[in-house]
């Protein structure tokens, strides 16, 4: 199951209003694109859906698979299958990427203690996914996002997402700063999760990634609201005309 519904969501930060009544529904098994000019509130929306404590939800609902998650803490939302691939993944010094991956892996499978068998399977799975994403196994010895290039960070975000096997993923500008091969790798990683039980909101500025991902629907945000919704044809319109045509 992976459907997400946002109803009349109003959000402020430090007293400043940034989301002004978002209404959005992503159906089960759908991948939707979320586009819009810089500062329109796309990243804020994804952080609010995940539950970042800095944002104040003033009104509205966030419903995941029929359950209002607004009162839940971020880790509880993660346990319900929500995942956020960050636009700018933060460095976490001293915390090993392998440790975080293991945590994600064991939580997904309900493992408490690392048995030799579970560790072996974990290692096998990670190795396969590293290869899929074109990452060297030496990355496993790194700290979370420690000393990684922008593109490497994006790919380790994708790696975590693959291990988490989320029911609903928000993928925030995973394509920015990626060369064409990495972009293909990341897009096919997302694509591999696709299915009846997986929904996703792909935030992007560019058509490129959508050429690979083929979104079921496209939503355009402006000034903290959904300003337009439609099919894939909207992407072409944006490429040609920019955002100028959107009604203020």
């Amino acid at each position: 199951m992976g459907y997400l519904e946002i109803k009349d969501l109003h959000v402020s930060v430090d007293g400043k209003k940034i989301l002004n009544g978002i209404n959005l529904r992503v159906e089960d098994g759908q991948v939707c694109a979320l586009m819009g000019p810089n500062g329109s509130g796309k990243s804020t929306l994804s952080a609010v859906i995940m539950g970042h404590p800095k944002y104040k939800v003033e009104k509205g609902q966030i419903i995941l698979n029929g359950k209002d998650v607004l009162a839940l803490q971020p880790h509880e939302r993660a346990e319900l299958g929500l995942f956020l691939a960050f636009q700018n993944p933060i460095e976490v010094p001293g915390v090993g990427l392998s440790h975080l991956l293991w945590t994600i892996y064991r939580k997904k499978r309900g493992l408490e203690k690392p048995t030799p068998q579970a560790m072996a399977e974990f290692k096998k799975e990670v190795t396969a996914k590293l290869e899929l994403l074109g990452l060297n196994s030496a990355f496993m010895d790194r700290d979370v996002n420690g000393g990684l290039s922008g593109g490497e960070r994006k790919r380790t975000e994708a790696l975590q997402m693959l291990l988490a096997e989320p029911g609903f993923a928000m993928i925030d500008e995973i394509d920015s700063g990626l060369d064409i091969d990495s972009l293909k790798a990341v897009a096919s990683a997302v694509d591999s999760l696709r299915g009846a039980d997986f929904g996703a909101l792909v935030i992007t500025h560019y058509q490129r990634i959508l050429d690979y991902l083929k979104p079921d629907a496209v939503h355009i945000m402006q000034d903290g609201k959904i300003a337009a919704s439609g099919g894939p044809e909207l992407v072409q319109k944006l490429e040609k005309e920019g955002y100028g045509w959107l009604a203020k």
């Binding site: 995940m50 880790h75 346990e79 976490v92 001293g94 975080l100 975590q160 988490a164």
Partner: protein, 466 residues
Amino acid sequence: MTANIEVNQKYAEKYGWHDDLQYTHVTQVGLTESTVREISAVKKEPKWMLDFRLLALKIFEQKPMPKWGANLSDIDFQKTIYYMRPSDKKTGNWDDVPEDIKRTFDKLGIPEAERKFLAGVGAQYDSEVVYHKIREDLEKKGVIFTDTDSALQEHPEIFKKHFGTVVPAADNKFAALNSAVWSGGSFLYVPAGVHVDIPLQAYFRINAKNVGQFERTLIIAEEGSSVHYIEGCSAPSYSQDSLHAAVVEVIAKKNAKVRYTTIQNWSNNVYNLVTKRAHAHEGATVEWLDGNLGSKVTMKYPSVMLLGPDSKAEILSIAYAGQGMNQDAGSKVFHFAPRTTSRILSKSLSKNGGKSVFRGLVRIMKGATGAQAHMKCDALILDKQSKSDTIPSLEIGEEDSKAGHEATCSRINEDQLFYLASRGLSPDAARNALVLGFVAPFTKELPMEYAIELNRLITLEMEGNG
């Protein structure tokens, strides 16, 4: 408040209990010349040592209490017991250790650790070492690992040549106190060219109430040798304060390498006032790894005198200051010779109103050409009630040298917490991961067993912080 009670209860369970023991010799409460004479007589010491002690007592009495650093005004020297002998036997056979003492160290996991991963072990109970053992092959190579009292009796020449040469009695008030009433501690001698491949460990346990522990450790690494020595400490949680004033002297001769690791985990009624200093001769390396958890007040600044050219000092430390604790710790390095290098890295954590202070001093003397020094201290403050101070000092007397200093002071980063939470970590687990990550540059240097234990201790301290 609840969090702290919980932490103390956990300390109480693991370390905070005490055993009721019949001591074989106890001096009267308080410190006079006759206390010092009594200690020396009980130990049947040579006259030079008695004279050394008596002179040190005079110095102690003349020196004022330090006016800087932590508040020491509550220490009452006349309420402390300076010498308590738990047993008349010292033994290298675990079966011969008196039952009640054995029970203590069994609970602390000492003999188990020896079997698993140590080349030798010493165990001190209040004033005296009750057990000392070294792997036979090392003994055959001439390595001496015994308690300091036995070394004075059994190896008088090596002893007298080195004792008190690194930390003189007049160094500071507490070094003088230790010099007057010292008892126990480790004596480690590594002959030229001998490499001790796995660590040697001593464990210091305060058991009785009101007792002071004044061990004296002396490590001599002869030319081209290497050794890693580890010490651990703990004490019961009494309502009265205890005093721990140790002196540690390390001598690393030409091209020798000494690593000295401390994981202290005192209960929060202990004044921990320790002088640790090393001499590094030509090409030698001295590494202090100093982990400070617990205690009421700690004042401790492991230092290295880089005496010979190309010698190296590395000092890594962590300090955790919880409720009612003041960790005043730091490091000192003196560069006396050309091409000497030093690196200081200090990590401090403060929580529940604890206060941690880092004092760092690097002095590069004229003539220490090509010397390089780097000092870094990172403080992590875990709540609004807690405090951290950084007092670094670089004194450069030689133009042809390089010295740098960095300091960071931070609180738990909300975005890092959120990142980990989005991966399914609970707030406690995420905070714990960040704290352990913060101290990782220290823990990754420890032998695995100690790294795990230290992470576990920090996790215990962190628990219940909602």
